[in-house]
């Protein structure tokens, strides 16, 4: 097809072959002595405990998502300001109001996040019980149960569901 792409294709092929050969050969030829210590999961020298399939609070994801929002905001503002300082007046006025509308939307969203306590770490104390998906009657007992349990245990994780 395109002659100038052929060397790259050959390189990709050689690389794939080489990798496959190294992995396969060491797997076939290497000695296999299994011991319990070798088969154990490595956790920085600490003895592994519990299941890796543990549920952990959704708060981490919420903070990550909010961080992305702040990040994107800076990306927009930076690129806009780069253009803004050299642009002519009609464009400046137009883009200024466009960015102001964008910022207003962003601020409303941010105010909402703060108002519903989405980044309040201990949500069992701040969010209305129906928003946790718990029946109101059993809510108090859930909180009491969750207070004594470590983070990530099934009872506490129900709060973050």
């Amino acid at each position: 097809m395109n002659g100038d792409m052929t060397p790259i294709l050959i390189l990709v092929g050689v690389a794939a072959l080489l990798c496959a050969a190294m992995v396969t050969l060491s797997w076939v030829l290497g000695p296999k002595k299994q011991t319990p210590y070798k088969q154990a999961a490595y956790e920085c020298g600490v003895a592994p405990s519990g299941s890796a399939m543990e549920r952990f609070p959704i708060k981490f994801y919420l903070v990550a998502i909010l961080f992305v929002l702040f990040d994107i905001e800076v990306v927009f503002l930076w690129s806009w300001l780069t253009i803004f300082k050299d642009a002519d007046l009609p464009f400046q006025i137009f883009s200024f109001w466009a960015i102001m509308i964008y910022m207003a939307l962003w601020i409303i969203g941010d105010a909402y996040v703060l108002k519903v306590n989405a980044i309040d770490w201990d949500e069992t104390t701040s969010i209305a019980p129906e928003k946790l998906g718990l029946p109101e009657a059993s809510f108090e007992s859930e909180v009491r149960a969750a207070a004594g349990a470590p983070i990530g245990s099934p009872v506490a994780a129900r709060g973050g569901q």
Binding site: F94, I108, A111, E130
Partner: protein, 578 residues
């Protein structure tokens, strides 16, 4: 750095064209602000604000209907008859969904005020999708529509089915969005533009590589949009998502997402009409599969939401037939029948799902077929409305569904797509089986559970049901003006749009019953109502007038119903939870 390219005048903006979308989106913002500061117990202020905002948006759409077509904002937004009518349908869908949502959400124990802003933004996204020829705007509209829907689908957080629905919809939806975006990127690579009318121009260059890029690009975009419209190879998500999501969300999803996706499909295919030699055979196969497979599966289903999910996939197939007929011979056959089908479909869908919310009690919903046994005794009005909507879904004369199917059948025959027309007719016959199964559950079967479900019908739900019923019956009177308006023959014929057809319910009902065939087209009637199926269908079609005098009975029985539901509520609770 060379910044000269930014020393240009900002695009001239026709704010009137953008106004409806801006209104709906900012109503969503206001609704969110109210949600933030509301007194914790009630959503009433949010609902009324939303309804007023939607009403103003609908008004601004109606006032634009005499205006000339054209695009603005550097080609980002477009105003033409199809976009105005489809936007009006979307606004109407949102409006009616809000009317019956609150009582249902309270009954399901998920009275989150966030539902309303999310639905408004979703509507705004759909409105962007149907009123643009710019691919990037189309993508943004699709994402705004979808992301709101993902959240709403998972709104019943304590239910694993709802969570399953949200995660399925989200994963598959993200996958489909990626397809759409790849398609857009390829089309951009081929044409150097994101505007759909550039596809034809690039195709005219007759360059081999460009053509390949275009075909792949359009193909990927069809996959993405086909997912949103639930066309058959991409439909697997639909039944599960429809069943798991809260019923009002399902209704909104089935109506709004479909209208928006079909609107976008129409724009994309119209832009790529020069390539129709490539995609037409493919889409004909897809249309046949989309009509046939869900109809066959639906016959086995026991859950009404699932049945309606499959039915909505099949309806997407019927709509696709109309779209293909238009694209096969764009000069001869207009888009009117497809748009008319969408209007009728949206009315029936919202009405039908509104009725399904009736059985929700104590945080559980009752959407199995067996939950509707004996509905006729409990809710005569609801049962009557259900018969009317089912009649429209089957396509029995004087309902909107009949004229819509007739028009599409007619178009398919005129465009030379006789095969599709035949498959459509056969599938209308097959679909009678499961549609009539719903009616059977409501009327024929005896109530099986020892303690019947309550029998009050919330006023919002009653209004939605009656308004949709009036729309379904009355829309046939607007058939001619809609067609005239959309085909651009006589813009002045547009006097009274369908979304506001709820002005005179009793008047419309009586006139439609005295005049059974307001727009007769006798040549095609037998072909659509189908051999062997027409006679048993007639009694249900006569039911709506019967339902009228029974309007009082829910009120009469509401006293004892309240006592009943109080008595049965706690007692009935432990049994289902086990």
């Amino acid at each position: 750095m060379n910044l000269d390219q930014f020393k240009v005048a900002p695009p001239s903006v026709d704010w009137i064209t953008l106004l409806p979308v801006i209104l709906v989106a900012s109503t969503g913002l206001v609704a969110l602000l109210i949600e933030m500061f509301r007194p914790k117990q009630t959503n009433v202020a949010i609902i009324w604000t939303s309804l007023i905002g939607l009403g103003v948006a609908a008004g601004s759409l109606i006032l634009q209907m005499g205006q000339p077509s054209g695009d603005t904002f550097a080609g980002m937004a477009l105003r033409d008859p199809a976009s105005l009518v489809l936007q009006l349908v979307l606004v109407g869908v949102c409006f009616f969904t809000f009317f019956f949502s609150e009582s249902y959400l309270r009954e399901r124990r998920i009275p989150f005020g966030e539902f309303y802003p999310l639905a408004l933004w979703s509507t705004a996204g759909g409105m962007i999708m149907v009123s643009t020829e710019n691919l990037l705007m189309l993508f943004i509209g699709l994402e705004v529509l979808s992301i709101s829907l993902y959240v709403m689908a998972g709104m019943a957080r304590q239910e694993s089915k709802s969570e399953e629905s949200a995660i399925k919809y989200f994963l598959l939806g993200a996958f489909a969005s990626a397809f759409l975006l790849y398609g857009i990127a390829l089309v951009y690579g081929a044409t150097g533009s994101l505007h759909l009318d550039q596809i034809a121009r690039a195709y005219a260059l007759n360059d081999g590589l460009t053509e390949k890029l275009l075909i792949f690009g359009v193909g990927f975009m069809l996959v993405g949009l086909g997912f949103k419209a639930a066309l058959v190879p991409f439909h697997q998500w639909a039944p599960d998502v429809y069943q798991g999501a809260p019923t009002n969300v399902t209704g909104f999803m089935a109506a709004a997402a479909k209208v928006a996706a079909i609107g976008a499909l129409y724009r994309v295919l119209s832009g790529a009409v020069d390539l129709s030699g490539t995609w037409m055979p493919l889409l004909i196969i897809i249309a046949i599969l989309t009509m046939t497979i869900p109809n066959l599966i639906a016959c086995q289903q026991k859950n009404v939401k699932r049945i309606l999910g499959y039915s909505s996939i099949a309806n997407a197939g019927y709509i696709l037939v109309g779209l293909l007929a238009h694209l096969q011979s764009p000069d001869k056959i207009g888009i009117e029948t497809t748009v008319f089908f969408l209007v009728s479909y949206a009315l029936v869908t919202i009405g039908m799902f509104a009725l399904l919310t009736l059985n929700a009690r104590d945080g559980k919903e009752g959407t199995e077929l067996s939950d509707f046994y004996g509905l006729w005794n409990r809710h005569p009005l609801a049962a009557g409305l259900m018969v009317l909507f089912v009649a429209s879904l089957i396509g029995i004369p004087i309902t909107g569904g009949f004229f819509a199917k007739l028009g599409i059948f007619n178009d398919a025959v005129n465009a030379g797509l006789t095969l599709l027309a035949i498959v459509l007719a056969i599938n209308s016959a097959i679909s009678c089986y499961y549609y009539l199964g719903i009616v059977r559950a409501a009327f024929v079967a005896e109530e099986t559970r020892p303690q019947p479900l309550g029998s009050t019908m919330p006023p919002g739900l009653r209004f939605t049901g009656i308004a949709c019923a009036v729309g379904v019956l009355g829309i046939s009177f607007f058939l001619t003006p809609i067609q005239a308006y959309l085909s651009g023959k006589d813009p002045n014929a547009w006097t009274n749009p369908p979304a506001t057809a709820s002005t005179g319910p009793s008047e419309n009902l009586s006139s439609s019953t005295t005049n059974p065939s307001p727009d007769p087209d006798p040549d095609q009637d037998p072909a659509l109502t189908n051999p062997g199926e027409a006679p048993p269908d007639q009694p249900p079609a006569d039911q709506p007038p019967v339902a009228e005098p029974d309007e009082q009975s829910p009120q009469e029985s509401s006293g004892e119903a309240a006592g009943e539901s109080e008595g049965t509520g706690p007692a009935a609770n432990p049994a289902p939870s086990r």
